[in-house]
């Protein structure tokens, strides 16, 4: 609740009644509010002005005031720091992974929470549930490291931290995410790969997205089929390998292009 206080002969003695004073008063007993406030004299048809001479009409003067409350009484809350905290978790690890000679320590509960595959493996009723160390096959340690980091922090590092070939890293990561049922990671990788889409990369990307990520696959096919890309893309080595490995792709493309 606000109140306009108007003193037609000013408020200070030394003004000697030659000013009109306007004050804006907050009536609520709440603590503090930030507001933007403006006041001016209403003109008679012409521009609003702060000069009294032009705005006196029939002995009356009109003040117009506008108040905009900027920040109210809300309490600001910082964004989620769950990933940050988990990322710093070093103690209490209860399982270790053997990946091509490298060892990684982790917490069963965290991994189980993040991936249904790990959930079953680590907390289920088969051998791994009681084994202190587990060997993982068909995955590179660097890839596993990034995936593990993701499972704790929910973030992917930038390209500069992904080794000398970030593009290949993304492809491996996409397949790994698909295999371990980490859907968000999968889409993050797909996004990165899509950002780097070009006539040179489309075939390789398509090869890895074939079975792992249908969103990416469809986008690749669309990209391929686009007029300006087709001719060039079709002539790359990557496309050759693509055709050999996945003959069905040719049929998909044909359909898409409308040949």
């Amino acid at each position: 609740m606000w109140r306009m206080n108007c003193y037609s002969s000013g408020v200070r003695e030394r003004d000697m009644g030659q000013h009109v004073s306007l004050f804006l008063e907050l009536l609520n007993k709440s603590s503090s509010v930030e507001a933007i406030f403006g006041a001016w004299l209403k003109g008679n048809g012409r521009q609003n002005s702060t000069s009294a001479k032009r705005t006196l009409a029939y002995g009356y003067i009109t003040f117009v005031c506008a108040i905009m409350v900027v920040s109210g009484n809300s309490i600001s809350v910082p964004p989620s720091d769950l990933g940050e905290h988990l990322g710093r978790l070093l103690n209490g690890t209860d399982v270790s992974f053997n990946v091509d000679g490298e060892t990684f320590h982790a917490h069963r509960a965290v991994l189980a929470a993040r991936s249904p595959v790990f959930h079953v493996g680590l907390l289920g009723s088969m051998a791994e549930a009681t084994m202190p160390a587990i060997t993982l096959h068909d995955i590179a340690p660097a890839v596993f490291r990034v995936m593990l980091r993701f499972m704790y922090t929910d973030t992917l590092p930038g390209d500069d931290e992904l080794g000398t070939s970030p593009f290949e890293m993304m492809q491996h990561l996409l397949a790994a995410a698909d295999r371990c049922a980490l859907d968000r990671l999968k889409l993050l990788c797909a996004q990165r790969l899509w950002d780097k889409m070009s006539v040179d990369t489309v075939a390789a990307t398509l090869a890895c997205a074939m079975y792992s990520c249908s969103e990416l696959k469809n986008k690749c096919i669309d990209f391929f089929a686009a007029e300006k890309n087709f001719k060039k893309a079709v002539l790359t080595d990557g496309f050759l390998h693509l055709g050999q490995k996945f003959p069905s792709i040719i049929a998909d493309l044909r359909e898409r292009v409308g040949a």
Partner: protein
């Protein structure tokens, strides 16, 4: 978490991506064999030795390399084979162990299915949706349903076992409820259709015939109250059964079976049962039984309306007998008390046993309304009841008690159709109470007026209030009179005047008789005093009312104070100047009307203990040839003797006729006013509509007779308020 060694993030190289593992058909077959073996190990309870990582990876590779179909089909045939083996082991279980074996194997299957689904998770997420095949878990349930539950050897045995156990439990045996729970849950997990077709439907059929038989047995040997107890018990049993080991959806179905078989099918027989049915319960105030009947009958269609109908006809019958029984009608106060008691009794039944059900309350009200109006003396009797209470019945009662009793009376009042008749009698009785000063509490009187006003509006009570005002004003006037005129009056007789506004009071004016001189003097003084302060008014002495206190000295000097009526006073004062007077003398001197005089003389001369006059001859009746003498020999134990009180009694036949006639007369202008009001707003209306509208408008006071309405219309036509339409004789038009 930590990686091995110092961070080497920026320096590693990754190979170009390609799928590592190649999978040719032979390799695929070998991979499948690994998985097949795992499935068997799982069913053999050897899962803990299996490597999840290896199995998951194998399935993943098969699906990735387009061998999803082979994997799925393999799963299906392996599981089918497994279940067929399980089926055999269940079939061979002996007697009581059948259900347990089935349950145990079901638990096993569920556990195995879970683990198999875990291993084949990748296939479930990718191959199954795209190939539109049934997901693994559902597949496992379907196979169980097809090869176990629907296997011919097991299917009927399962149903029979379940129904047999339920039957035994109904007969009082204790059964394994946990096992039952597990089995029914299994059926529900296999699909609601399985539960319903393979268990619930037959269960309901069997239950229906069970309860049909049992209810027949009970109804032959139990009385109504006990039968209802048993029905209630069975109902509760079934609900408990559902909550313990059946699916919740079965509750409504089984309860409706019990309701139908035990209650609906025998509803009429129960209500009408001799010596124990509804009417007996009502008469004996069997609240618990009635409450049970209400709760049970509520569940079946038309149950409550049946109870209501029987109750209504019972009430109407009893009420009718009550109001037409000549014995009861001898004492009006008792009569009304009996009505109030009946109302209280049934109010309590409805409140305690029928949960204050509004429809029952309405049935009670309509029944009362029906039979109270069967006797056209009801309005008079109710007024007499109030009169009795306000005269003496409420003496010493607290304010709350008074309110309670008056409110109950108002309830009966509301039932009356002829409220205007009540008004007439109430006025009469009130007048007598006020004039004789015989009211228990002014506040109680006022309270009753307020209630009547609230119920019927201002017009109903304006005259009654006028009577109260007159009494108060008279008091003030008398005070003033004595204050101003005391010297003038000296030692004359003391006068207490009640000044009644004509029109407010129900009294019939009659010409004044000859008052004794002493009285006349003081009366005249009062008259001139009053007319001095109230110009333009006219006062007439009502000598047919009023009382006098006379001091009398008898033969041996006994002094008594006699309380007599005005007429009696006039007669007695004559004997100050004569010892003996003939009837004709008295008649001439007092000018009291003949019938009143005869009654007056009878009370003075022929009543034992009050015979201050002696009559010759000593017959019971007064004849015009009788002579009267002052009775010197009069004795009484009391110093103050009361002769002749004006008590409200129930009217004699001729009086009743008179009152009724006056009521009819009063109704005529009311009907006419209603007709005029209606015609003024409608302008043109047919005969039947007028009758209906008039009835509606007047129903708060009385029920107009259509014949009377017709006569009034004709009278209004004669006086040119209305005219008949020239073409249609049944149509009337308003003449402005």
């Amino acid at each position: 978490m930590s990686g091995g060694g110092p961070p080497r993030k920026r320096n590693f190289k990754i190979e170009a991506f390609k799928h590592r593992v190649e999978l040719d058909p032979k390799y695929a077959e070998r991979t499948w064999k690994v998985l097949e073996h795992a499935i068997h190990e799982i069913y053999n309870h050897n899962a803990s030795g299996l490597s999840f990582e290896e199995l998951y990876r194998s399935a993943y590779n098969m699906v990735l390399h387009k061998y999803g179909e082979k994997l799925y089909d393999g799963l299906q045939s392996t599981m089918t084979w497994r279940l067929k083996e399980i089926s055999k082991s269940i079939e061979t279980a002996q007697g009581g162990l059948f259900l347990e074996e089935l349950n145990a194997k079901w638990m096993d299957h569920n556990k195995a299915l879970q683990m198999i689904r875990d291993i084949l998770m990748y296939m479930d997420r990718t191959y199954v949706p795209t190939a539109h095949r049934t997901p693994v878990h559902e597949l496992g349930l379907n196979l169980w349903r097809d090869h176990i539950i629907h296997s011919p050897m097991i299917h009927s045995r399962l149903l029979d076992t379940l129904l047999d156990l339920i039957d035994r439990e109904r007969m009082g045996e204790v059964i394994n409820r946990g096992l039952m729970r597990s089995i029914t849950k299994m059926l529900m997990d296999l699909g609601p259709a399985v539960y319903q077709d393979d268990f619930e439907k037959p269960f309901l059929e069997v239950s229906a015939s069970f309860y049909s038989g049992e209810s027949q047995e009970f109804i032959e040997c139990c009385d109504c109250g006990n039968y209802l107890k048993k029905a209630e018990r069975r109902l509760n049993e079934e609900m408990e059964r559902v909550s313990h080991y059946l699916d919740a959806g079965s509750e409504a179905k089984i309860t409706s079976v019990v309701e139908k078989e035990m209650i609906a099918n025998h509803m009429h027989r129960l209500v009408d049962m001799e010596n124990s049915g509804l009417v007996n319960m009502l008469v004996d105030d069997k609240y618990e039984d009635l409450g049970r009947m209400y709760a049970l009958f509520r569940r079946v269609p038309d149950g409550l309306s049946r109870i209501r109908d029987v109750m209504t006809s019972y009430l109407r019958e009893t009420g009718k007998q009550l109001v037409t029984d000549p014995e009861r009608l001898k004492d009006p106060v008792e009569f009304v008390q009996r009505l109030l008691d009946e109302k209280d009794k049934h109010d309590k039944i409805i409140s305690v046993a029928f949960g204050n059900d509004k429809t029952f309350q309405n049935a009670l009200n309509s029944s009362f309304e029906f039979f109270i109006n069967l006797n056209n003396r009801s309005p008079e009797f109710i007024s007499l009841y109030v009169d009795d209470k306000l005269r003496k019945g409420l003496k010493g009662a607290t304010e709350e008690d008074v309110e309670v009793i008056l409110d109950k009376v108002m309830m009966l009042f509301r039932y009356l159709q002829e409220k205007d008749v009540f008004e007439k009698y109430y006025k009469q009785h009130l007048a007598k109470r006020l004039l004789s000063g015989k009211t228990v509490s002014d506040d109680a009187e006022r309270s009753m007026i307020v209630k009547l006003k609230t119920e019927c509006g201002y017009q109903f009570t304006s005259k009654l209030e006028g009577m109260f005002t007159d009494m108060k004003t008279s008091q003030d006037t008398m005070q003033d009179f004595y204050a101003k005129k005391s010297e003038e009056l000296g030692d004359g007789p003391t006068l207490d005047v009640h000044i009644l506004t004509t029109g407010s009071w129900p009294t019939q004016p009659s010409p004044p008789c000859n008052l004794p001189t002493e009285i006349l003097t003081v009366c005249e003084k009062f008259r001139s005093y009053y007319l001095g302060t109230h110009n333009g008014r006219r006062l007439t002495w009502q000598t047919n009312m009023g009382t006098a206190d006379i001091k009398a000295t008898f033969g041996k000097g006994q002094k008594h104070e006699l309380n007599v009526s005005t007429y009696q006073m006039c007669v007695l004062m004559l004997f100050n100047n004569a010892d003996g007077l003939t009837y004709k003398d008295i008649e001439r001197d007092t000018e009291i009307p003949a019938s009143d005089l005869k009654r007056c003389l009878q009370s003075l001369a022929c009543v034992k203990g009050k015979n201050v006059l002696r009559k010759e001859p000593m017959s019971k009746d007064i004849s015009e040839d009788d002579t009267f003498y002052f009775n010197d020999k009069f004795t009484s134990k009391l110093v103050k003797v009361k002769i002749g009180t004006v008590v409200a009694q129930k009217e004699s036949e001729p009086e009743k006729q008179e009152t009724r006639q006056r009521v009819e007369e009063d109704r005529k202008p009311q009907i006419e006013a209603a007709i005029v009001r209606i015609m003024k707003s409608r302008r043109v209306l047919d005969h039947n509509s007028i009758v209906a509208e008039v009835t509606k408008q007047l129903q708060a006071r009385f029920l107009p007779n259509p014949v009377v309405i017709k006569k009034r219309i004709e009278s209004l036509i004669e006086r040119e308020f209305l005219e008949r339409d020239k073409v249609d004789r049944k149509l009337y038009r308003y003449l402005a």
